[in-house]
Amino acid sequence: MSARAIWKGNLKLGTTKVPVKLYSAIEDKTVRFHILDSGRKQVKQHMVEPETGEDVSEPEIRKGYEVEPGRFVILEEADLESLKPKASRDIEVSSFVPLEAIEQQYYERPYYLGPDGDEKNYFALAEALGNQEREGIAHWTMRNKVYTGALGAQDGYLVLSTLRHAEEVVSAAQLPKPAGTPPSKKEIELAKHLVSMLEGEFNPAEYKNEYRERVMEFIAKKAKGHAPRLSAVKTKRQTTSLDSALAKSIESLKKGKRAA
């Protein structure tokens, strides 16, 4: 079964236009709950006057921005309308950066791009981005919102990720280094050794959402009328010195390797 495109646009690179369709690359699997009243019916929401608790109906509600505590500037429908960006189908790719140039913190939501009538240019662009190990910086307007994104290649297909704004990200370079005593050279050597023994490949398939599975299993059992008893969780803490913890870790990892 294939997914439905959520938007159509044109990648614009200089004078070349590549028509594409946008598909969400992610599927939220969060277990969603509803809020119920004591009669197990879904609750409703309404807006009320905080003092009297009186209901205020939709047409009477306006929107306001709090400029300082308790002081609101009212924005009318026409004001909000005037702020809407101009609609366009263009995804303007203005520049390119090396893969490691965008910090992880900026990536927000990935979309797959699929070809929309011009496979030749689509797949050639994906291959070129992959070969060059670059990402394009893209700007577009979708559903009344302006986006900045990173256009990258993944296994020969184009992926467009929305990026956060400058104001939304705190970078580590803006922060002070943590206080406290630094570790010794010897300790750093030991820790590097320990880290190197735990090095491996990133293999996402190894990660299963165990919690989600347990919640769903519990719900299924409860639905049949026999909820299992759950016991409280224990936490453990270990209190060895840093040096001996490092040395012992390396020792036990070495033993593990020999046994394998």
Partner: protein, 256 residues
């Protein structure tokens, strides 16, 4: 500001108690709902049957197993269902920094040393930096489990929550066409274009949309008829948290 999560990072037998704070903040200017008299309104839940507003204690959480049929679940049950191991961030794997595709990254956080863990904290940051490694684990935060990647960034441990692989669609699931053989002339044409337009660094964009909104607000504020002021006694004293200040204080070991 309280940390989003507190726990212990372990690697081998070394443990580093830490607090976790967000590294991202929303920039959107929130609009409030205002009533006919110019008063800010509150959102309330009510029962359709009785028509009465509900307090937090009157409400329960339910999972819809069939249309209109719910299984109720309590906070305590959800807490007890959390896998034991996820109360710690147990780094059993370190991978090279550039080996994680960006589609996995969800949101950034900073970790600050807690208790007397500064030395162990710095040790982990230094060892990962020198190896060029990122630590990987899974953990549970606020009722949700995440894979997490821990980066050494300017002597600070930065975490990125990630998506589980079953939350990322494959090209096949989306239904994209099979890759055809590419035309090498066209590929070269794009490569030339990419090279010509490459910049060395990325400069994030400012949020122009929010800036426009604030500009309009300012303009409207000049005309008194667009402004409402509520009574002093009704002003909530909810202070706006300066995330940057919180992070600076906690890293300097002064967040108490």
């Amino acid at each position: 500001m309280r940390p989003f999560w507190s726990g212990t990072i372990t690697f081998g037998l070394v443990s580093v108690p830490v607090n976790l704070y967000p590294a991202t903040r929303t920039n959107r200017a929130p609009l409030r709902m205002i009533g006919p008299e110019g008063e800010p309104l509150s959102r309330r839940y009510y029962s359709e049957k009785t028509g009465k507003d509900l307090e937090a204690d009157d409400m329960i959480r339910g999972y819809e197993i069939d249309k209109g049929k719910f299984v109720t679940v309590t906070d305590e049950e959800l807490e007890r269902l959390a896998p034991d191991k996820t109360r710690d961030i147990n780094l059993t794997l370190f991978v090279k920094e550039d080996s994680i595709p960006p589609v996995y990254f969800e949101r950034g956080y900073f970790l600050s040393p807690a208790g007397n863990s500064e030395k162990a904290y710095k040790l982990l940051a230094e060892a990962m930096k020198e190896r060029g490694d990122v630590g990987i684990a899974t953990f549970v935060m606020r009722g949700k489990e995440y894979p997490i990647a821990i980066f050494s960034d300017n002597s600070i441990l930065r975490a990125e929550t990630m998506r589980f692989p079953d939350e990322i669609r494959s090209v096949k699931q989306v239904g994209l066409p099979e890759k055809p053989k590419t035309n090498s002339m066209t590929v070269r044409k794009f490569e030339t274009l990419i090279k010509r337009k490459t910049k060395r660094s990325f400069k994030p964009d400012k949020d122009e949309e929010t800036a426009q909104l604030l500009k309009l607000v300012k303009k409207k504020e000049a005309n008194k008829s667009n402004v409402v002021q509520i009574k002093e006694s009704d002003v909530s004293d909810g202070k706006v948290v300066d995330l940057m200040e919180v992070l600076k204080r906690t890293l300097a070991g002064k967040a108490k």
